[in-house]
């Protein structure tokens, strides 16, 4: 009988130890998370301190804990990105793309950089003029940036002097029109001019069709 009691006691003790270990582990994880957050905030503070050097501003965008949006001036963008890569270990270029703000006459270039130690992203936004879109190349920092730049030249007409294979065709072959990802390029007009409609084909206006087919009850209240 005593043996049994001993075994039970031992098991209870072990269980308690296991629980404590688990709690300790969780505490450690929480501490690690806290430290990470603090480090992320430190990076943000460091960037704020360099505000004047790189002419940085912060856009009115909602930031997550792990994603920070920064606007950099056109002439300081590449030095700023180089600084982030070499000094703050934002070593991974996640992507590089453009957004067309035709109403402001601007292209928003977006460099998304990732830090693998902090698991933190910084989106460097650079506003450049839509009329003469030229930007400094970053292929010397990341060789695969040349592909992004090749695509940006083809799709938006943004030039990156010195970028390898910039003027070669990327996805489009022998394209003569304006760069197709620009907002003023009308896809419908292009397809109507270029292709002919096949006979016997019906098209529905999606909103009208769904009104009739899917939401008859709701449609009355529209």
């Amino acid at each position: 009988m005593q043996d049994m009691a001993d075994v039970q006691n031992r098991e209870n003790l072990q269980n308690r130890e296991n629980l404590q270990n688990q709690e300790n582990l969780q505490n450690q994880e929480n501490l690690q998370d806290m430290k990470k957050l603090q480090d992320m905030k430190k990076t943000a503070d460091k960037i704020s301190a360099l505000k004047n050097r790189f002419e940085i501003s912060f856009p009115r965008l909602e930031n997550r804990d792990d994603l920070l949006f920064v606007i950099a001036a056109e002439q300081h963008a590449v030095p700023f990105i180089t600084w982030l890569r070499d000094m703050e270990s934002y070593t991974h270029l996640v992507f590089f793309t453009a957004v067309d703000f035709i109403e402001d006459g601007l292209f928003q270039l977006t460099y998304m950089l990732h830090n693998y130690q902090l698991h933190h992203d910084i989106a460097v936004l650079v506003m450049i003029s839509r009329d003469e879109p030229v930007m400094e190349s970053i292929h010397h920092l990341w060789p695969h940036a040349a592909t992004y730049q090749q695509e940006l030249f083809e799709m938006y007409g943004i030039e990156f002097p010195g970028s390898p294979r910039l003027y070669e065709d990327f996805a489009l072959e022998g394209w003569q029109d304006i760069p197709p990802m620009r907002r003023e390029f009308d896809t419908r007009a292009y397809s109507e001019e270029t292709y002919f409609p096949r006979p016997g084909r019906k098209t529905f206006d999606t909103v009208e069709y769904m009104k009739e087919q899917l939401y008859p009850g709701e449609a009355e209240s529209w």
Partner: protein, 411 residues
């Protein structure tokens, strides 16, 4: 006095070493400024096009190879055979109308596109989704990973001349597609994950049938381990093929199994957990050699991991009506205006980091949706780097070992 500009350019040119390195082969032409200096008219070199119509190419792309003997001197990737302009089309469609488009960006793994687009829209609109939907989303993503890996094995081993194994795995993929059909109603394109949650609950008896399928897959995987990973032909050809040096990983933006096979511990599911991955028990699979064999082995172990994760999800998921709703009611989606903002969401797909960058201008239409596919850097810049010096008959195997899908390069 040293010119500062000169010094800076010398620092910048430190990365030039990453350009094609001279291969120790007397037949190879000299390399100058990172480019091979060859004369096609000399008769020593031959230009070969692999693709777009070629059985040894993954999907719709082509490789322009310059060879001497049977060795590759220079490789250039050409894309554009599949450009459908999805990113442009999405700018002219309402958020809900984009759903039939996003899943078509990547054929073997549409769920990641659905999830990321939905998650991006939800974050911008400030929609919280019910807990059950989060579990169901994780389940679909893991199922998609397993299904995509099953298809990849077919390509990988087929490229080395063993088509039979590919036929086994594609059969297993079909069984998985049955499960997808049961859960979502679609086999290839599911359109299951939508903003606000998922479209349907788990059907009755689904978990039992899923378990049955997983057992079938596991049985075949045991066979694959014997016939593929212990196969002399596969070992001989894949070992040492297309080695990715860990130093190349950051320079070329390499992610996923390609990076993990070089010993770089990176997994979005662990690093920045999304959905319920922080509640699941798994570890990052890595290898050290960084060649095609190591990549295949990492993927094989990740298949086992996916099976395990699916089981964990099925066990831990809140079930039945007690589990709560699987959908958060949204305003009328045909008139759904999303507040202005920008966001980036990422997930770990079979090939690496998959991401959606979304910009909303406050209207009913997205201003810009950018899709970050891992193949973008793997298939172009990285492939052109590591193909040099490889045997021309191994090009197909090398290409598949990077696990590239052209559709995500030209969205």
């Amino acid at each position: 006095m040293v010119d500062k500009r000169l010094k800076r350019s010398a620092e910048a040119s430190a990365y030039k070493k990453m350009e094609p390195e001279p291969v120790d082969n007397p037949k190879f032409p000299p390399v100058k400024d990172g480019a091979s200096q060859y004369d096609l008219n000399s008769g020593k070199y031959l230009k070969v096009w692999q693709g777009p119509q070629h059985p040894g190419i993954t999907g719709n792309m082509s490789l322009e190879l310059v060879t001497t003997g049977d060795r590759i001197v220079e490789c250039r990737t050409h894309v554009g055979y599949l450009h459908r302009g999805f990113e442009k089309l999405m700018e002219r469609r309402k958020y809900i109308q984009c759903f039939p488009l996003v899943c078509r960006i990547c054929v073997p793994e549409p769920d990641f596109n659905e999830y990321l687009f939905a998650a991006g829209a939800e974050e911008l609109a400030g929609v919280e989704i019910p807990e059950k939907a989060v579990w169901l989303r994780t389940l679909t993503l893991e199922m998609a990973r397993l299904t995509s890996f099953l298809m990849w094995i077919g390509g990988q081993i087929g490229a080395f001349g063993m088509g039979t194994i590919g036929q086994w795995t594609v059969t297993m993929r079909d069984y998985m597609l049955d499960r997808f059909e049961e859960l979502t109603g679609g086999r290839i394109y599911h359109m299951y994950i939508i903003p606000g949650g998922v479209r349907a609950d788990v059907p009755q008896g689904f978990f039992g049938r899923m378990e049955e399928t997983l057992r079938k897959v596991e049985r075949v995987m045991d066979d694959i381990e014997l016939t593929m990973f212990h196969n002399a032909v596969f070992k001989k050809r894949a070992e040492g093929l297309g080695v990715i040096d860990p130093a190349l990983v950051d320079v070329y933006g390499v992610t996923g199994p390609n990076a993990r096979a070089s010993g770089v511990r990176r997994d979005v599911r662990k690093d920045s957990p999304y959905l319920v991955y922080d509640q699941l028990d798994f570890s990052i699979v890595t290898d050290e050699k960084g060649d095609a064999y190591a990549r295949a082995w990492v993927r094989y172990q990740e298949m086992r991991q996916s099976i395990d994760l699916i089981r964990q999800i099925m066990a831990k998921m809140p079930k039945g009506e007690k589990g709560g709703p699987f959908f958060e009611k949204l305003p009328n989606v045909l008139h759904w205006k999303i507040p202005a903002g920008q966001t980036y969401k990422r997930a770990e797909c079979t090939r690496g980091e998959y991401g959606f960058f979304m910009v909303s201008d406050g209207s009913e239409y997205p201003r810009r949706v950018y899709v970050r596919g891992p193949s973008y850097s793997h298939a172009i810049a990285l492939m052109e780097q590591i193909a040099v010096g490889a045997n021309i008959s191994d090009t197909a195997g090398l290409m598949v070992s990077l696990h590239t899908y052209p559709p995500e390069i030209e969205r």
